[in-house]
Structure formats: structure tokens, C-alpha cells
């Protein structure tokens, strides 16, 4: 997107707009693709269609001048204030009942002045407060200074919100009609537009004017001879060819015609560098460009108006360089470039038109060539830059001058002493120009335009316009004729458009005549294609590079007709095959199960920095502890499970803290736990998201989706009925995982086994489904916990693969029969060695219990005085039930005995006394 500012007053030079409501015009342009993002009112009054309330309008919104309070006035008498030396009394006629007397200290008024037209504000007018530090409006009040009443104000630019200028009052031209509301006389509005790259042709006033003309079916005004000469021309081949100058004043060589399509030069002699007149500065400022000097202002003005950037060289400096080079050459120093194209101009020696100020005997030579790799150049901003052979240089016989179409050189720039100006207007390969300005990081108003593409036919008329403006602003004369080297010509583009295609794409009938009309308004040439009445041959106007295929023309047609004219239909095309999206269903089922389990769904940044990896690996090298006994295992250290450097890395990170893609979600999860643990008592989170694993021999990483879970804090928040601050621990986390697996029918095949993991402490397990690892879970290693700045309490994390869970989403359990006979519950406490796992005990109980044993619940674990050291007591509640009868005590007793016996055989368990 490229931003431009368009003052309506300037636009009105080329198409009538002041009879249109600026708000509606803005909307019409916006709908047609030229987005008006913002309007600044410089005097003009918004219509009801403008919604910003007056009291919300800030500096950027501007100041409408009230029609009944601000007028064109005329000072009919000026005299000294009788009681104040520095102040004047001015009597102003403004169309009211009687003239008003105002007190002013304006430096551009003198006693005795009369017949001076001013911008007159009556009492009550809303103006910008000129003395406030920040932008602020005020209401003009009647004031009394040393006994005399001031009945209004002659305004400066600042009070009217035009500019910061506050040195003197505005003096209007003598023909300004007294009594006319000031807004009607000189009110303006400025559009801020943001244009898409295909609208490169409209990055200027004339381009926007062409659009307005087409949208409103109005003629394009051609107040300038350069523009008038182009009326009716469509094909680039039909553009007027510039006449060469009678005497050559510069040689142009283009050894890189693929990068520089055209180079034209105009010579303007005897200019006087100075300040531009007020109207130029006013327009430049409104367009967002700072006035500098008349010559530079002229190039900027022409660029804003026509879209063609130009460059002004000090011609004499170029000549001087050519002389120096000549001197070196005569000393036999250098070989001359002779390849490529060069301008065909008349021979300076045979010319018979000699002026009073003859051209120099040594002519400058502009050479548009590729830079040499590693070649260095100091650009206008004083920075020395290294160039590559992809870059286009402007050079002369002495050396480098500028980077073509990107930035000028310091040495040949116009300056206060400049007398003669060589005006360059050229055409470049826009892709190359964009690349160069990006590589050198040199964006400018010029590259914003060059890099989007400008017609190679533009340099001539725009250059002429600029040259003429220079003379208007700085005096001197334009030397007749243009030096023009044009090796890569622009050719006309024709597109064959079948009106039926318009219907096929839009779903709306547009009559052929209307299509032709719209395209012609946009200055396309439209003819029937031979005898074929069903196809139009459309020629694209020379100033457009964006239209190449029928679809482009369809867009032109519809944006002028208006998208609101297209009907709204429901697709009646064949419905594509529909399928059940198990992957998505599975993912969302997992999400629902985890929220149901009390966990909050989160989404983390997938770009991380080295700091996260450093924290993740904080426990590396720490000893491994036995998971049951809790003692350090000799010679074992926590393993390395990932190489923090072997990740997908960004070439251009925004910040070092986000310079690579995550390979695990646990870093995000730990950070999220830490972030919330200090403000929330119970933190329970999960995330479903991608991680990125580099794949050997593949430039693209694998992008598996994982689930991370994090728990820390209290199991239930303390409240009036719960004073119990039990903390979440490993078994809460395991419970969540078990529940998830159970709901997906995977728990029966799941196994949890103790593991070691570099993020986890002693309480760490991996979970397997059958033989495949699903993931890990456990309590965070204290060292890691501290690295992530987690509070000093247990924090539990898990990371699981999503795919095996998604694969189980179609699981529907088969119903188990429900017994109508009573169940019998019995308790059983056994003493086993510490090393015996609960899972083993339960397994033996279930096997021995057979079909009558319906449920086994471990309800107590006891270690202490009543059992021997190194032993523990496990107490189970057993539920027995049969489907076909009421169990007798003897039935249960038999099974119970079998269980005790098996426990003894298999695990050395003894019944607890």
C-alpha cells in the first residue's frame, strides 16, 4: 500500500470536484478501489455524511471555516493604536452592516495601508488557538486593548488550521470578492489515500483526476500544454516523439537497457535558486511534502502531479566532472565505455545555432550501467553503501553519480549557486528498482512510485511539465529539445474481451455497449474484433501497466458500475463431495474433554527465543533420582532430549526473543503457568498447537500437533465451604490424562511408567498406548521451575501427541451388562515391599478375582509403625457381583482367598494383621 495526499483544490485543476460533496466523492473513490482513509478539512465544511463529531475533530481532521463567521475582508483603513505603539487599528469591510475595527500586531501591515484583502474572522468564529502548546481550537471573543474594542481578527495560516505559519496575516489577491464566505473562496479538503500496488498509475493528482472523470462521466481538464498534447492518445506507439535539441548538451549511454528503459534530459538555463511562491508551498504542504527550494519544489510538484519522479542535477558540476575526466583521459588513464545505446542528437560541432552563451566544449556523459560487485558509493544521506551488480548506477565519465531511480549523489546535487539545471526523467525496471531500494534500505517518495511501475512514456511529458514549472518558479529558460535515449520501448497491450466472459465471472448481464462506454471513459480504446461481434478488442492506454488479461478489464467494468449492482445469489453449482472431518472433530473433542476437566484453553506464540530453551535445559546435568526410592542414582544425569540450536530459525527476526520456531510447547506452558500463578490460586491450562521439527533432507519441517497441559496451585480455590488448601500434584495431572484417555476408549491399553526427563523431577512418567509412546507427564524439576520463575510450589506439565487421540475419536464403547443382583463390598489390606508397584498389585487382584470381581479401588496407603520398614500397606475396596444370582458369603470368601494366595505367590504380599 502506498499513501498519497490529494488536496481537492489541486484535483480541481484537472476535473471539476468542488460541486461534489467531498464525503460522497471520498466514498465513491473508496468503493472504486481508491481508498480514502481520511479527510482533513482545510476550510471546507463537511456535509451530514461526515460522522466525526465537531468536538472530536483533532488537528489531523482540520478546521472547517464557519460560513457565517469567516469572510473575505478588505482593510479600508489602517492607523496606529492611540495607546499602544506596536499595535494597529484596521477597519475591515467584510459584507456586514458596517465595517469592523480590529486591533492587530501583524508585521506585514503598516499604518496607512488600505485596499488589502484579508481572511476575516468575526466574533464567535472557531479558530485554532495560535498560542496553545498543543493543537486546540478556541472561539474568538471580542477583546478590549487599552480602551479600544477589537471586533474581529485578520487571520494567519495557523489560526485557520492551514499551516504553522504565524508570522503575518494572510493577504489575499486583490480580486478576492469581499464578503464571500472564506470557505467558499479558498476552502479546501485533503484526502489521505492508501493505494494498492495495482493502482500505481494513480499515485498522483492527474491519475486520481482520471478516476474521478471516469466515475462521474466528466471531462478531464487539460490546463497544461503537456497534458493537452496527450488527449486522445491510447497506444504508447502514438505518443509524440520529443525533438532532439538543436545542439547536444549531454551524452546518454545505457549499457543496461534491461534495468533502465529510458533516460531523458532537459536543460534549464539561468535559473535563480530561491524560495517558491506561497501557492506552491501551500500545495506541497497539503500533499505532505516539505518545501525546500524552487528547483527541488518543482521536481516534487511535478512528481505529485504526474507521478513521474525526476532529478535535478547542477549541470555545471556535471560539466566540470566531464572536464576532469577528460584531463585524466588525456593523461592516458582510462578506457572508455562504448557499448550500449546512446541518444541520437545533433552533432554539437556541426550545429549552426549558436547561442550567446555557448555550450561547453566538453559535454557530460550520463552512463546508466550496472554497479560492479563490491563497488562503494556515498549516497545523499552521507552513508557509504556497498553495491552489487544487480543495481543500476548513474555514472559519468568521472565515476558514480547516483543510484538509478533510488537516490541521488551529493556531488552533483543542485545547490544555492546552481545556474543551470539538467533535469533527468527516466524509466526503470520496477522490480529491479524495488529490490535495490529494499536492499539498500532507501525508501523514498520516488522509489514508492518507481518500484510500482511507471510507463516509459511518462518521462517526456512529465519532464517538460517540470521544466516549465522550474522556469515559472526560478526564472531562466528551457533549452528547446530533449535528449532522449529510449532503448526499451513500451509496446501497446491489447486484450480480447468477450462480453459473455463478463457475465460468466460476475453473474450479471452487462450490455456490450455499457462495457465499451466504461472502458472508453477510462481511456481504453475499444473496437469490435474484426467481424466477431461477440468479442471486443481493447487497447490499454499507455499510462497503465496493470491491465493484461480479460479479468483485469472485468474488474474495471465492475468497479465503475459499482459492486452494489451485482446481484446476491446462492451458489447453484454442484455441491462438492462432503466428508467427515475426523481430524478436526478429534481435535475439538479433545479440547472439549480438557475444558470439561477444568482446564483453560490457551494459545501461545509459536516463535520463541534462545532464552526459553536455556530455561528448558536448566536441569541438564542434574543427577537422576530413583522414582520410587527418591535417592540419587549414581552416575546418571538427566538426558538431553532436544538440541535447542537445531530448530527452524528465522533469517529476519523482529526480536531476538522470537527468532526460532518452538519444538516443544512446554516452554510456552511453563511461561503461562508462571505468568498466572502469582495472581490466580489455581492455574490449570492446556494448549493444542503445532510444533516444528526439522526434517533431514527436507527444507520444510514436520509440523505435528501436540497437547500440552499445565497445573499448579490449589486443587480447589478456598471459599466459605472449603478451607482446604490441597495443592495440585502429579496425580491430579495423571487423573486428567487418564480421564482423557478413558473418554476416548484408550485407557485400557494405556500404561504409565516411570521415566527420566530433563524438565521433570522425580515424579515423572511416560504414557504409552500399547507400544507407542503418547507423551510424558510429571512434576517440573525444581531447577527448571526456578528458571521459569514459578512460585515455590508443585507445577505439573504434560506433553502428548494429538494424532493417536484424534485417531480414537470414532470410539463408541460396547455396552456392559448391568446386574440386577446385589453387590458385595469387602476391604482387603495387604503389606508389600516398597518396590512393588500399585499397578502390579491391582493386576494380580483383578486376575485372581475373575469375573465376579467388578471393581478394585485403592483407598489407603500406609507406611509406619504398624508395618515393617521397607514395606507398605495397601488397602483396597473390592466389589463383587454376579449377573445371575445373589452372591453368598461363601462365594465371596472363595474368591477372596484366591486373591490373597496369588498376591502372596506373585508379590510376596501378606495380609495386614
Amino acid at each position: 500500500m502506498t499513501a498519497i495526499k490529494v488536496p481537492l483544490s489541486w484535483l480541481n485543476d484537472f476535473v471539476d470536484v468542488f460541486d461534489l460533496d467531498p464525503v460522497e466523492l471520498a466514498e465513491r473513490l473508496t468503493l472504486a478501489g481508491l481508498e480514502v482513509e481520511h479527510i482533513r478539512w482545510v476550510g471546507l465544511n463537511p456535509s451530514d455524511a461526515y460522522h466525526v463529531p465537531a468536538d472530536r475533530m483533532g488537528e489531523e481532521d482540520g478546521l472547517p471555516w464557519e460560513l457565517d463567521k469567516l469572510f473575505v475582508g478588505e482593510i479600508i483603513r489602517t492607523e496606529r493604536h492611540p495607546n499602544a505603539d506596536r499595535l494597529l487599528l484596521a477597519t475591515v469591510e467584510y459584507g456586514g452592516d458596517k465595517p469592523m475595527t480590529i486591533i492587530t500586531g501583524a508585521p506585514n501591515l503598516r499604518p496607512g495601508d488600505s485596499m488589502i484583502k484579508v481572511a476575516f474572522a468575526t466574533i464567535g468564529a472557531r479558530l485554532v488557538d495560535p498560542y496553545a502548546d498543543a493543537y486546540k481550537t478556541m472561539t474568538l471573543k471580542a477583546g478590549k486593548i487599552r480602551g479600544i474594542r477589537s471586533e474581529g481578527m485578520a487571520c494567519s495560516e495557523r489560526e485557520l488550521g492551514i499551516s504553522d505559519e504565524h508570522e503575518g496575516i494572510i493577504i489575499l489577491p486583490p480580486n478576492a470578492p469581499v464578503g464571500m464566505p472564506l470557505a467558499d473562496y479558498m476552502g479546501d479538503a485533503v484526502y489521505s489515500m492508501d493505494l494498492t500496488p495495482n493502482l500505481a498509475r494513480d499515485l498522483n493528482i492527474i491519475g486520481v483526476a482520471r478516476e474521478v472523470a471516469a466515475l462521474y462521466d466528466r471531462p478531464l481538464k487539460r490546463p497544461q500544454p503537456e497534458l493537452a498534447a496527450l488527449a486522445g492518445i491510447v497506444r504508447p506507439e502514438d505518443m509524440p516523439r520529443p525533438q532532439p535539441p538543436a545542439r547536444r548538451f549531454v551524452n546518454i549511454e545505457i549499457p543496461a537497457p534491461d534495468l533502465c528503459h529510458r533516460y531523458t534530459a532537459i536543460l534549464i538555463r539561468d535559473v535563480e535558486i530561491g524560495e517558491s511562491p506561497g501557492w506552491i508551498k501551500d500545495r506541497l504542504r497539503k500533499a505532505g511534502v516539505r518545501p525546500i527550494s524552487n528547483i527541488v519544489d518543482a521536481t516534487n510538484y511535478a512528481m505529485l502531479e504526474w507521478g513521474q519522479p525526476t532529478h535535478a542535477f547542477d549541470y555545471d558540476l556535471l560539466v566540470e566532472r566531464a572536464r576532469q575526466a577528460e584531463g585524466q583521459k588525456s593523461r592516458g588513464a582510462e578506457e572508455q565505455s562504448d557499448s550500449g545505446f546512446s541518444a541520437e542528437a545533433s552533432d554539437p560541432l556541426t550545429s549552426d545555432i549558436l547561442t550567446s552563451d555557448p555550450l561547453p566544449s566538453v559535454l557530460p556523459t550520463i552512463i546508466m550501467r550496472r554497479a560492479r560487485d563490491g563497488e562503494k558509493m556515498t549516497t545523499l544521506d552521507g552513508v557509504e553503501r556497498e553495491l552489487t551488480s544487480d543495481m543500476l548506477m548513474i555514472t559519468d565519465t568521472l565515476g558514480t553519480v547516483a543510484v538509478g531511480g533510488v537516490m541521488g549523489g551529493l556531488e552533483t546535487e543542485v545547490n544555492d549557486q546552481t545556474r543551470n539545471v539538467l533535469l533527468e526523467a527516466a524509466s526503470f525496471d520496477f522490480i529491479n528498482n524495488r529490490r535495490t531500494s529494499q536492499t539498500l534500505r532507501l525508501p523514498s517518495e520516488a522509489t514508492a512510485r518507481f518500484s510500482k511501475g511507471i510507463s516509459a512514456e511518462m518521462p517526456v511529458p512529465a519532464g517538460l511539465r517540470c521544466a516549465r514549472l522550474m522556469v515559472e518558479l526560478a526564472g531562466g529558460e528551457v533549452v528547446e529539445g530533449i535528449e532522449d535515449c529510449y532503448p526499451t520501448e513500451q509496446h501497446s497491450v491489447t486484450i480480447d474481451l468477450a462480453p459473455a466472459e463478463v457475465r460468466r465471472i460476475l453473474g450479471m448481464d452487462v450490455p456490450t455497449a455499457q462495457i465499451s462506454d466504461i472502458l472508453r471513459h477510462l481511456e481504453f480504446d475499444v473496437e469490435p474484433l474484426g467481424d466477431d461481434e461477440n468479442t471486443l478488442r481493447v487497447t490499454v492506454p499507455w499510462f497503465r501497466l496493470d491491465a493484461t488479461i480479460p479479468a483485469d478489464l472485468i474488474e474495471e467494468v465492475v468497479r465503475i458500475i459499482g459492486y452494489d449492482q451485482i446481484p446476491t445469489t446462492l451458489m447453484d453449482d454442484a455441491l462438492p463431495p462432503q466428508w467427515r472431518n475426523w481430524a478436526l472433530e478429534g481435535k475439538e473433542r479433545v479440547r472439549d474433554l480438557l475444558t470439561g476437566a477444568g482446564l483453560q484453553d490457551i494459545i501461545s506464540y509459536r516463535l520463541i527465543g534462545p532464552e526459553v530453551n536455556r530455561k528448558l535445559l536448566a536441569a541438564q546435568g542434574e543427577p537422576v533420582y530413583d522414582p520410587v526410592a527418591g535417592v540419587a542414582v549414581d552416575d546418571r544425569q538427566l538426558p538431553v532430549i532436544f538440541d535447542p540450536e537445531a530448530l527452524v530459525r528465522l533469517e529476519n527476526p523482529l526480536t531476538p526473543a522470537a527468532d526460532r520456531l518452538r519444538s516443544t510447547m512446554l516452554g510456552n506452558m511453563l511461561a503461562a503457568l508462571a505468568r498466572n500463578a502469582r495472581s490466580v490460586d489455581r492455574v490449570a491450562l492446556f494448549e493444542i498447537g503445532k510444533v516444528y521439527w526439522p526434517v533431514e533432507d527436507d527444507s520444510l519441517p514436520a509440523e505435528p500437533e501436540l497437547i500440552s497441559i499445565g497445573l499448579t496451585g490449589v486443587r480447589a480455590a478456598r471459599n466459605w465451604s472449603n478451607q482446604n488448601d490441597q495443592m495440585l500434584d502429579f496425580f491430579d495431572l495423571k487423573g486428567v490424562v487418564e480421564e482423557l484417555l478413558a473418554r476416548l476408549g484408550l485407557l485400557a491399553d494405556a500404561r504409565f511408567e516411570a521415566t527420566v526427563h530433563p524438565l521433570l523431577g522425580v515424579r515423572a512418567a511416560r504414557v504409552l498406548i500399547g507400544k507407542n509412546e503418547l507423551g510424558v507427564l510429571g512434576e517440573v524439576h525444581p531447577v527448571v521451575r526456578r528458571a521459569f520463575d514459578l512460585p515455590d510450589q508443585r507445577a505439573c506439565i504434560a506433553e502428548l501427541r494429538l494424532a493417536p487421540l484424534v485417531a480414537a475419536v470414532s470410539y463408541r464403547p460396547a455396552m456392559q451388562s448391568i446386574s440386577n443382583f446385589p453387590a458385595v463390598k469387602e476391604d482387603l489390606a495387604v503389606v508389600v515391599d516398597e518396590a512393588v508397584l500399585a499397578e502390579q498389585v491391582e493386576q494380580v487382584i483383578r486376575q485372581a478375582g475373575g469375573s465376579l470381581l467388578r471393581d478394585v479401588t485403592l483407598f489407603d496407603i500406609y507406611r509406619g509403625k504398624q508395618v515393617a520398614a521397607g514395606k507398605k500397606s495397601l488397602a483396597y475396596s473390592l466389589t463383587f457381583q454376579a449377573d445371575d444370582k445373589t452372591l453368598k458369603d461363601s462365594d465371596v470368601e472363595k474368591v477372596r482367598k484366591r486373591i490373597i494366595a496369588r498376591l502372596g505367590q506373585a508379590l510376596g504380599a501378606e495380609l495386614r494383621a
Binding site: 500500500m1 468503493l31 472504486a32 478501489g33 481508498e35 461526515y50 460522522h51 463529531p53 494498492t196 500496488p197 495495482n198 493502482l199 520496477f430 522490480i431 524495488r434 518500484s451 465471472i505 460476475l506 453473474g507 450479471m508 479479468a551 483485469d552 465492475v558 459492486y563 451485482i566 446476491t568 445469489t569 446462492l570 451458489m571 453449482d573 454442484a574 462438492p576 472431518n581 472439549d592 475444558t595 477444568g598 483453560q600 494459545i603 506464540y605 509459536r606 516463535l607 527452524v648 530459525r649 533469517e651 529476519n652 523482529l654 510456552n668 505468568r675 498466572n676 495472581s679 490466580v680 489455581r682 492455574v683 490449570a684 503445532k690 516444528y692 520444510l700 480447589a716 466459605w720 472449603n722
Partner: protein, 343 residues
């Protein structure tokens, strides 16, 4: 009545009055009315009564038994009432005390919106098609009608990886090509492509370096821009409520031609202008257009036979508008105080 019966009666009734709970009452019943109870014994002992007195004795004993049985029932009833009243009295509670709420987590607001979008498009036959985050320049740009150096590439500030030609996708549009290659050629397509996108953009209240996008793609033999309008209108009415006004403006995306931006009348002010819509009365909801012929061709479809439309929208932006969220950075900040507001 015989004196012994009279005494028995008085004693029994007095005892009944003192029976204060279910246990005492049961003891009383056993004592008097049980199988071996005193009243039961009266009937059993009738043989010891002189013959001439027997009928009167029998009547009296029977009457006594009935009387005591009724008294027992009444007393039992009274006791039930009493204990119920006592139970109720002890139940007094302040119903304004907070309830014990089950701990249920919430779905992230972005995911809620993604679900909503997915559901709405499912009603129109669009199915979800996922594609990768780390993309090739070819898929992210070239096949979407943006050859290297194309100025339109400036519309997306791109993160490059250290592997040449591999980038973070700047939009979900590469999914268009993936979908066409996976589901085509010569078959109609209707898919939406949700996913995470990445932009080399300074993070601010309005811009994130990472955000979701949902791309939509419909390809068929008679798909028109009028159909695109129909789908967007339908979507907007389902998402933002019935009766919404829509506005389509010309825009530009290299992979669609013609291209539009769709605006909906501001859901906060209804179009009269407010700070959220920056006083224009419209909110931009998506970019869209007819699939560019070059893109159709790159996906394996003949643009002379097939046509299609594509659109793209940002779930975070939609969520911000609907919930009045002023800063996009909340979305991936993982702050429970934010997330828990959205259930």
C-alpha cells in the same frame, strides 16, 4: 370395664405420651401390642375369666386393643411430624451464599470464533482443509501470481527462515493451491482453510506478528461474483446477526481478479459513526475476489472452464469487534484474567 383393664389402659396411654422417639415408641408397641405384649396377653388369658364375663371381657379387651392401636398410630404420626419439624429447623440457610461451582475450563476466544466460522460455512457446504505454517516462497507467493520482485509482495511483511525459499506463511492463501492440488482437478471445491499466519510487523495494539486467518475457496463450473456476494452476506448475517448491511469495495489482491473488500455496517453504532468504526459507520470484515486465472491454472484448473472465488478473514479481528477488545496482544498473552472472561 374391669379395673385391671382400666389400670392397664391408663398405664399404656401414659407410657405412650412419654415415648419421645421411634425407639421408645417401638418398645411401647412391643410391651403392649406385640406378640407377647400385655394387651395381646389379655385375649390369650380369656380362658381364666369366668364364663359369664367372657363376652364383656372380650369386647372390652378388643376395644382396648383398638384404642391403643389408634393411639399408637396417632403418636407415631405426631413423632414423624415432630422430627421432620426439627430437621427442617436445623436446615436454615442463607441462599445468597455462593454456590460450589464445578471447575470447567473455557475455550480460547480465538478458537470459539474459529468454531463459529467453521460451523457457519459448514451450513453452506464448506469443509475445513488444513495446510502447513512453514511454507515455500513458491506456494506463498509465486503460485499466487506474485513472481519474485513483484511489488504486491510488499503487502505482506514476511518472516524468512534461514533456509532459502522457506518462509513463514503470511496468509492462509497458499492453502488454495494445496487444496486445488489435493482435491482437484476437474472436481468442484468448497473449503475453508483456517490457520496461523505470521507477519514481520512491529507488535502493537492493532498488529500481531502471529494471528489466525480463515481463507475460503469455492471452485466450480458456474461460480460467479454474485455467488461470492451471496456467501459473504449469508456469513455476515449468521455471524453478526440478521439484517446486516454489507458494502463491497474494489480492492486488490494479486491472486484474485476482480478483488473486493467487504464491509459490514458497524455493529456498535449501526452506521451512524463511532470511535470503533473511526466514524465511517463501516467495519472491514474480509477481503475476497474471483480466483485469478493464473492461480486456477497453477492449481490445475482450466480458467476457461472453471471459475471460483476466494475470501479471507481474521478471527482475532472478528472477536475484537464482537467483544470490544481493544488490544490484539491479549490473545496470545495467556492471561487467565482475560481468557476466563470468554468461558
Amino acid at each position: 370395664m374391669r379395673e385391671d383393664l382400666q389400670l392397664l389402659r391408663e398405664g399404656a396411654l401414659a407410657g405412650l405420651q412419654t415415648a419421645g422417639d421411634a425407639d421408645a415408641l417401638e418398645a411401647w408397641r412391643i410391651q403392649y401390642l406385640g406378640r407377647k405384649g400385655t394387651v395381646t396377653d389379655l385375649m390369650r388369658n380369656i380362658g381364666q375369666v369366668p364364663a359369664e364375663e367372657r363376652p364383656a371381657y372380650g369386647q372390652a379387651a378388643n376395644a382396648l386393643k383398638n384404642e391403643l392401636s389408634e393411639a399408637f398410630d396417632a403418636r407415631q404420626q405426631a413423632l414423624v411430624q415432630e422430627s421432620l419439624a426439627a430437621e427442617m429447623a436445623a436446615e436454615g440457610v442463607d441462599v445468597t451464599l455462593p454456590g460450589r461451582r464445578p471447575q470447567i475450563g473455557g475455550v480460547h476466544p480465538s478458537n470459539q470464533t474459529l468454531r463459529e466460522i467453521t460451523d457457519i460455512f459448514a451450513t453452506m457446504g464448506f469443509q475445513v482443509f488444513a495446510s502447513r505454517d512453514v511454507e515455500t516462497d513458491e506456494y506463498n507467493f509465486e503460485l499466487l501470481n506474485m513472481p519474485p520482485g513483484h511489488p504486491a509482495r510488499d503487502l505482506w511483511d514476511t518472516f524468512y527462515t534461514t533456509t532459502p525459499g522457506v518462509i513463514m506463511r503470511t496468509h492462509t492463501s497458499p492453502g488454495q493451491i494445496h487444496a486445488m492440488k489435493a482435491l482437484g482437478p476437474d472436481k468442484p471445491i468448497r473449503v475453508i482453510l483456517p490457520g496461523m499466519c505470521y507477519r514481520y510487523e512491529q507488535v502493537s495494539a492493532r498488529a500481531e506478528m502471529m494471528f489466525h486467518q480463515v481463507e475460503g475457496l469455492a471452485i466450480g463450473r458456474h461460480i460467479t461474483m454474485a455467488d461470492l456476494k451471496g456467501v459473504i452476506v449469508e456469513f455476515a448475517n449468521q455471524l453478526y446477526g440478521a439484517g446486516r448491511k454489507l458494502r463491497f469495495r474494489c480492492s486488490h489482491f494479486p491472486f484474485t481478479e476482480p478483488s473486493v473488500e467487504a464491509d459490514v455496517d458497524c455493529i456498535l453504532c449501526g452506521g451512524s459513526g463511532c470511535a470503533v468504526c473511526k466514524y465511517v459507520g463501516w467495519l472491514e470484515i474480509m477481503g475476497a475476489g474471483m480466483v485469478h486465472p493464473t492461480v486456477l491454472r497453477n492449481g490445475g484448473y482450466d480458467p476457461a472452464e472453471w471459475s471460483g472465488f476466494a475470501f479471507g478473514m481474521g478471527p482475532e479481528r472478528i472477536t475484537m469487534l464482537k467483544s470490544g477488545i481493544s488490544d490484539i496482544r491479549y490473545f496470545f498473552g495467556n492471561d487467565l484474567r482475560f481468557l476466563e472472561q470468554f468461558g
